[in-house]
């Protein structure tokens, strides 16, 4: 299946990436080529096969549900591009 420019726009919006009009055609071509390559998978018989969910056969490690870290708002905020009074700040969300 080919990815047309409308689909490129839709996917870019889902991925929250702005793309310019000039990028639309080249992107649709590149993505279509990659997708066509992936479609080789359609020739594999996967009837009755479970999708892989764990790379190594191993139960995930569980730990006690206790708080053992925290109380460091300054460290958490130190890399924020914009912060105020102990909070991350963003453009106004509510109209």
């Amino acid at each position: 299946m080919a990815i047309d420019t409308e689909t490129v726009k839709h996917v870019a919006n889902l991925a929250r990436i702005n793309i310019t009009d000039e990028e639309l055609v080249p992107l649709s071509e590149e993505l279509s080529t990659i997708l066509k390559f992936m479609e080789q998978l359609n020739s594999v018989d996967v009837d009755g096969i479970d999708p892989l969910t764990s790379v190594t056969p191993m139960a995930l490690n569980l730990r006690d549900d206790i708080v053992d870290d925290g109380e460091k708002p300054n460290q958490i905020l130190m890399n924020a591009p914009n912060r105020r009074e102990g909070f991350f700040t963003v453009p106004k969300v509510i109209e």
């Binding site: 990815i3 689909t7 490129v8 996917v11 870019a12 919006n13 889902l14 991925a15 929250r16 990436i17 702005n18 793309i19 992107l27 590149e30 993505l31 080529t33 990659i34 997708l35 390559f37 992936m38 479609e39 080789q40 998978l41 359609n42 594999v44 996967v46 096969i49 479970d50 999708p51 892989l52 969910t53 790379v55 190594t56 191993m58 995930l60 490690n61 569980l62 730990r63 460091k72 460290q75 958490i76 130190m78 890399n79 924020a80 591009p81 914009n82 991350f88 963003v90 453009p91 106004k92 969300v93």
Partner: protein, 495 residues
């Protein structure tokens, strides 16, 4: 100069212990070499002050006979490992000025073992690339050049800076990460040893995520022995990574005994791909002969789903990446795009990601987003994960039949040119990973060993793939292959 920096880790351990050299001398030599290597562009940052401070402490420790495994050994760290108070940006514009207030588990273990940090190493942006050309720092350059040809070559990727820094003797060893071949392919291109451990052997905590079910950290070194030494120090269970394994970490160096009598080495016929250059095929046959001469048994095997590994990988890795990279939204860390007063939060996300991500990263995020989107999830992602199950069972069947280690080429070619026109199409670049992705999909340990050179004198690597958790035996076979190959590591200094 460069005499000390060209030592292997195991030799430097000996010289430091004997008191023949000091860590400060060793570290200073590496720093001079690193500073004189701007043309290679391997280091994106040199942490000189920190390195000398650590080296002085190491020398004090040595005098007090308080010697740990890596006391005084200077190494380079791929820019994907978070290092406390040292900028870390995975070669991406979107993480400009990101300074982690914490240390990754793997690097913390290395410092706890006494290692010295020389600086951060160049890589492809978010580890997405096979040529180091997607880096915000500009491409890293391979120290190797073809005979009578001054053209700059790629060191491979994504751990290109690590491969170059080790090959050019700017450091004693380096860390890398490998999602689809990002340790082994640059190792093959730079004539170094690169090991991707079993999935879960090294903690992923503090390593900037690309595709979480495939990512593993590993060593890049001048010898197999050095990889065994570094891997022992990097490995181990970590409360902060639920997929890290609760297995005892053996001393991997103790497995190296030059004895591989009776070991069964599998040669998978599916890796004999169309158009494989003659010299790669010859290298592969020659490697098998050498292991046979050392007492191993060579067995022809079949891994029938091999040809589907690359398409499955290029569904799964971008899908996981699109989800992992959603965190770069201009709110908590990294750069936020300049906004007009009228622009809302959605425009903030979109502009920030438009400006912050490079072309290849955007391409992979979009492919992944598409593969996970409503209506396509089953057809692409779930199908790819089913194929992954089949690829993994191919390997288990072979191992269950008694094969100990599998031998293949690491890459389909030697290092190629930077800005190569033949690699303009993203798919042509992806084909570089054809022999390496299978080990990531199946979670298996795999190592690239420099095994020969092509007719123009460029390094070529052979890959050994082992059973899960059996890095020790894998390293032992690799050690024999390395010894029998007698690879000449000397590279002409033109930089």
């Amino acid at each position: 100069m460069g005499e000390l920096s060209s030592l292997t880790i195991s030799k430097a351990q000996y010289e430091l212990k004997k008191g023949n050299i000091t860590s400060v001398e060793l570290t200073e030599d590496c720093l001079i070499e690193a500073k004189n290597s701007t043309e290679l562009n391997a280091f994106c940052m040199i942490t000189e002050e920190l390195a000398l401070d650590q080296a002085m402490k190491a020398d004090q420790d040595i005098r007090k006979k308080n010697i740990r495994k890596l006391t005084g050994i200077p190494i380079g760290i791929k820019d994907i490992f978070c290092t406390k108070r040292v900028k870390t940006q995975a070669a991406s514009r979107i993480l400009t000025n990101f300074t982690p207030p914490y240390e990754s588990t793997v690097t913390q273990k290395l410092w706890n073992s006494g290692a010295i940090m020389l600086g951060k190493l160049n890589m492809d942006e978010f580890a997405m690339g096979s040529s180091n050309e997607t880096s915000i720092y500009g491409p890293c350059v391979n120290p190797w050049k073809a005979k009578n040809d001054p053209t700059a070559l790629t060191p491979g990727g994504s751990s290109g800076g690590s491969g170059t820094a080790v090959a050019a003797n700017l450091c004693l060893g380096a860390t890398g990460t490998d999602t689809g071949g990002s340790i082994r392919q640059p190792a093959a291109f730079t004539g170094t040893v690169g090991l991707k451990p079993t999935y879960g052997r090294c903690s992923r905590w503090g390593i900037i995520a690309f595709a979480s079910s495939l990512d593993q950290a590993g060593p890049m070194t001048k010898s197999v022995r050095d990889s065994a030494i570094l891997l022992t120090e990097m490995s181990g269970f970590d409360q902060n990574d639920s997929t890290s394994a609760k297995y005892e970490v053996p001393d991997f160096e103790s497995f190296l005994n030059q004895n591989i009598k009776g070991q069964k080495i599998g040669i998978p016929k599916e890796y004999r791909v169309d158009g494989m250059p003659k010299e790669i095929e010859a290298l592969w046959e020659d490697g098998a002969e050498k292991l046979k001469a050392a007492g191993a048994k060579i067995i022809d095997i079949s891994l029938p789903h091999t040809r589907y590994a690359l398409p499955a990988y290029y569904v799964i890795a971008p899908a996981e990446a699109s989800s992992n990279l959603a965190r770069y939204d201009g709110v908590r860390f990294g750069e936020r795009a300049e906004l007009d007063k009228s622009e809302n939060i959605n425009e903030m996300y979109k502009k920030t990601r438009q400006n912050g991500f490079g072309k290849e990263v955007k391409r992979r995020i979009m492919i992944g987003t598409y593969a996970l989107s409503a209506g396509f999830y089953e057809a692409y992602y779930i199908r790819a994960q089913k194929v992954r199950t089949l690829i993994q069972s191919d390997f288990s069947e072979v191992f269950n039949r008694g094969v100990d280690v599998i031998l293949t080429p690491t890459t389909p070619t030697a290092a190629f040119k930077l800005k190569d026109d033949k690699k303009k199409n993203p798919l042509d670049m992806y084909l570089n990973d054809v022999f390496t992705v299978t080990a990531n999909l199946a979670g298996l340990p795999a190592i690239s060993v420099p095994a020969g050179k092509d007719e123009t004198g460029l390094p070529l690597g052979l890959q050994l793939i082992g059973k899960p958790w059996e890095e020790g035996n894998l390293l032992n076979v690799a050690d024999v292959l390395e010894k029998e190959s007698q690879f000449d590591h000397r590279v002409k200094n033109w930089w």
